[in-house]
């Protein structure tokens, strides 16, 4: 029997270089249809990036709203959809704050990140995590995460209150920026978050 755990992700916004390796590694591994992006890299503020997939939430909206009961939440925290039960109604697609369920036009079905469950069986981390060159994206069991060094959300991340996503973040620090000194303006230094 699967051990009880809270599988999820730990993300370091400051270390993400926006290289999209996670996103394409996911396609390479899972062979999702064109336009179906189980993981996506999006641009945030001040040159930052977010890498978002299904967050295998504690209170998954997809699970709650699905009229076909196609979703399950496993004991290890992974949320799965049985696409064979999916009628293509798109209710979950609308409900998820993270755009995790992705509608596959060609098959008239919704699919989503399964935390690379086949790789899990072989003891391998998800393909996106392996691909990350900067260590920004890590897979973790949230049960064993020292909560004091991490924060529940960061600016630009969708609202976490509805679904309690299994993702934590490292807090962001200030950085020194010396913008170009144009002859007309003198105020050039600032600190960004």
């Amino acid at each position: 029997m699967t051990k009880i755990s809270t599988k999820g992700f730990l993300f370091n916004v400051e270390r993400c270089i926006g290289c999209h390796a996670c996103e394409v590694a996911c396609k390479n591994e899972n062979k999702t249809a064109p336009g179906v992006q189980w993981r996506r890299v999006t641009e945030g503020e001040n040159g930052t990036y977010h890498s978002i997939s299904c967050n295998h939430c504690s209170s998954p909206e997809c699970f709650r709203v699905c009229p076909e009961n196609a979703y399950i939440k496993r004991r290890d925290g992974i949320v799965l959809i049985d696409s064979n039960r999916c009628a293509g109604c798109n209710t979950c697609v609308q409900a998820c704050p993270y755009h995790a369920p992705q509608f596959d036009l060609h098959q008239n079905r919704t699919t989503k990140c399964n935390y690379c469950i086949d790789r899990q069986r072989e003891g391998l981390p998800p393909a996106c995590v392996v691909a990350c060159p900067s260590g920004a994206l890590v897979n973790i069991d949230l049960k064993h995460l020292p909560l004091e060094s991490t924060v529940p959300t960061v600016p630009g991340f969708p609202d976490i209150r509805i679904t309690k996503p299994s993702i934590r973040f490292f807090p962001q620090k200030g950085k020194k920026r010396y913008w170009l000194k144009e002859e007309k303006s003198e105020s050039t230094k600032n600190t960004d978050l």
Partner: protein, 673 residues
């Protein structure tokens, strides 16, 4: 799984990383790629482009058969057999030889589409014809290479994995978040141990966003920033003059130049970097063991070589020289392979006259000027000059004099569409190769994972077959050793020195796993030439010092065309997996520059100069310096139409020709009504 196997491949793109790939193959089909954990630099990871390789190999637009077009440019293509295509080409080569008394009317323009050793077979194939016409030079990094040679007599051979041991890191005009993502592992290891990361760039790149400190600088003024930093350190007494006097040639001259000619407030004005920012940079160099990574972009200016000389002066004068971790990182080509494909022995009559050399950066205009004989047959491989070259108009003029244009490529790109014959190239999953990197020190053998796609062939197979066709028609016409297989050529590259440096007895050990070169035993007692007699002899400033960048009174905006994330120059532009919204249809502008021209986001504009005009859509970018516009390379309406006659100050020593000053381009932008 049925018939599942894993094969070792090496990505051969013109890129820092030369990743080791494990290819998963089922029933002769490539189903998945992953990184190879046994490779110490790429560490089991690929970049986004690498992970998209299954889409690339089976892309529906991939060319399957040799095709012939008549008339040229008409789009009227006909499938032909390899025998027919190569037979026709062979007859043309022989006919031209009879007409002109040599093969000088035959030439190639080939560059970095695949930089594996065996892809030098095209060069070898032409070498077999006796004297012919060669595109020579370095589009990429020659000015900086020369600069380091003027300063040090050789380009330092650094191990980028050692960057993890640096106490501070300066990324100077380099954007590894787009061009070398694996390096972040080593950068971040140093940061986790307390190293500060400082990034210098005119653009607020994703790398700049990573920096603990970011200095935004006016393009082409980096040399002045380095001079000012040195002046601060000298005045604070932070330079070890005793050591410097012993190891640096021209220190006294350099010192008086610093003290008398470099003025900090003036330097701040020229570079646009506030004095406080320059002091931040000086502070990093005060502590020893600071790594400085100089990108290739900042030497693509008319003063680019000088800029690298001055940055290197800053690195060495602050004692960041010789130790592990710190020092200058630029280009780490070991040069240990003999590259026999360009060296095989030829009969004496083929050695009587020399090859005819044409500057690759100005190929079309130089070829148009050639007489006795004019160029009549042009072979294109690993290159798309109609989007990537300068003087694109001249290419269209050149086509008129050419009697035969042959292009070898995977796709019907812009140059292929203007060719008489297009031969389908194999990807690197379809043949053997030997690969080294110009950045890390790992060597790998690329092995065939799948059979060739339809009738695709590698450059080496094409060279062998064409040679056979030539010699069948006229025995002994070509001296290219067509009987040698890919594995024969690979074996020949493993000299006793290479085997010793890899710590192996037999080259076949590399079939199991890539291996890292053992560092060469170095003399650490080199001298640094702040004053270089050699530079003086080359009509360059003898002293390493800032020379101002060019400006252009007729066109106020400097056009920069840096590397994108989803492509390597013109490669990969058609992959849907790599569609991250990057487009060659936009020009990025600072809001002030846009406002001054009454332009708004998404306006259709013409971007123009004396070279030509391109149409783009405006995208506002508040981080862009005023007076700088940004466009990506490639596309249907290539931005390179605006590039003419650009030469860097250096490059002849190492590239045979000056580098290309690709960032010295000025334009104006106006609304397209």
């Amino acid at each position: 799984m049925r018939n599942h196997k894993i094969v070792h491949n090496v990505c051969p793109r013109n890129c820092y990383e030369t990743c080791s790939i494990l290819s998963h193959v089922e029933n002769d089909k490539l189903v998945k790629v992953e990184g190879n954990i046994l490779h110490g630099y790429t560490r089991g990871r690929l970049c986004a482009k690498g992970y998209a390789l299954t889409e690339y190999v089976y892309h529906p637009e991939r060319l399957k058969y040799p095709i012939k077009q008549f008339p040229r440019g008409s789009g009227n293509w006909q499938r032909i057999s390899w025998e027919e295509a190569l037979g026709f080409i062979a007859e043309k080569i022989i006919e031209l030889h009879d007409r002109y008394g040599s093969s000088l009317a035959c030439g190639y323009n080939k560059y970095s589409g695949n930089i594996g050793v065996l892809h030098q077979a095209t060069e070898g194939m032409f070498r077999g014809l006796g004297p012919h016409t060669i595109a020579q030079g370095d589009v990429c990094l020659a000015a900086g290479n020369d600069a380091l040679i003027y300063n040090r007599e050789k380009v330092p051979f650094k191990d980028p994995e050692d960057m993890a041991k640096a106490k501070g890191i300066v990324l100077w005009g380099v954007n590894p978040a787009r061009t070398a993502t694996h390096q972040w592992f080593f950068i971040n290891k140093a940061r986790d141990q307390g190293a500060k990361l400082l990034v210098i760039d005119p653009l607020y790149t994703p790398t700049a966003a990573q920096g603990d400190i970011f200095l935004q600088i006016k393009p082409g003024t980096d040399g002045m920033l380095a001079m000012a930093t040195l002046k601060i350190l000298l005045e604070k007494g932070k330079l070890d003059e005793g050591y410097i006097k012993e190891h640096f040639i021209g220190w006294e001259t350099f010192k008086s130049y610093l003290l008398e000619e470099v003025e900090l407030s003036e330097a701040s004005k020229i570079t646009g970097v506030p004095l406080e920012g320059i002091k931040e940079l000086a502070a990093l160099y005060e502590s020893k063991n600071c790594a400085t990574w100089v990108g290739f972009g900042l030497q693509r200016y008319s003063n680019g070589g000088q800029t690298v000389r001055v940055i290197d002066a800053l690195v060495t004068l602050t004692g960041n020289y010789g130790e592990i971790g710190g020092g200058i990182y630029y280009n780490n080509s070991s040069g240990i392979f003999p590259i026999n494909l360009k060296k095989f022995p030829r009969p004496p009559e083929q050695e009587k006259t020399k090859e005819r050399i044409v500057d690759i950066n100005h190929f079309a205009s130089e070829v148009l000027a050639l007489k006795d004989p004019p160029l009549k047959l042009l072979w294109i491989a690993g290159r798309n000059p109609l989007t990537q070259d300068q003087d694109i108009d001249k290419w269209h003029q050149l086509f008129r004099q050419l009697e035969l244009i042959v292009t070898v490529d995977m796709f019907m790109n812009e140059i292929a569409a203007q060719s008489d014959f297009v031969l389908p190239a194999a990807t690197f999953f379809e043949d053997y190769d030997l690969n080294y990197s110009y950045w890390h020190h790992w060597i790998g053998i690329n092995q065939p994972a799948i059979p060739p796609y339809y009738e695709a062939k590698s450059d080496l197979e094409i060279a062998r077959l064409l040679t056979k066709e030539l010699n069948k028609r006229r025995p002994g016409f070509s001296s290219f050793p067509a009987e040698r297989t890919a594995l024969d050529w690979i074996e020949g590259e493993f000299t006793p020195e290479v085997l010793a440096r890899l710590g192996i007895k037999n080259w076949r050990e590399l079939l199991q796993s890539p291996r890292k070169l053992i560092p060469p035993s170095e003399k650490s007692d080199h001298q640094i030439h702040l004053f270089s007699q050699k530079a003086k002899e080359g009509q360059l400033p003898a002293l390493a010092r800032f020379t101002p960048p060019l400006s252009n009174p007729s066109y106020p905006l400097r056009l920069l065309t840096p590397q994108s994330l989803s492509r390597i120059h013109s490669q990969y532009s058609n992959l849907s997996w790599l569609d991250f919204g990057e487009t060659s249809e936009e020009v990025e502008m600072n809001p002030q520059d846009a406002q001054a021209r009454n332009l708004e986001e998404k306006d259709t504009v013409l971007i123009f100069n004396e070279g030509g005009t391109c149409e783009r859509k405006v995208r506002l970018n508040k981080y862009l310096p005023e007076g700088v516009v940004l466009a990506s390379q490639g596309g249907q309406d290539p931005i390179n139409k605006l590039f003419t006659g650009l030469k860097a100050d250096m490059g002849i020593l190492t590239g045979g020709m000056p580098g290309g000053a690709y960032y010295d381009v000025w334009v104006e932008v106006k609304k397209n009504d």
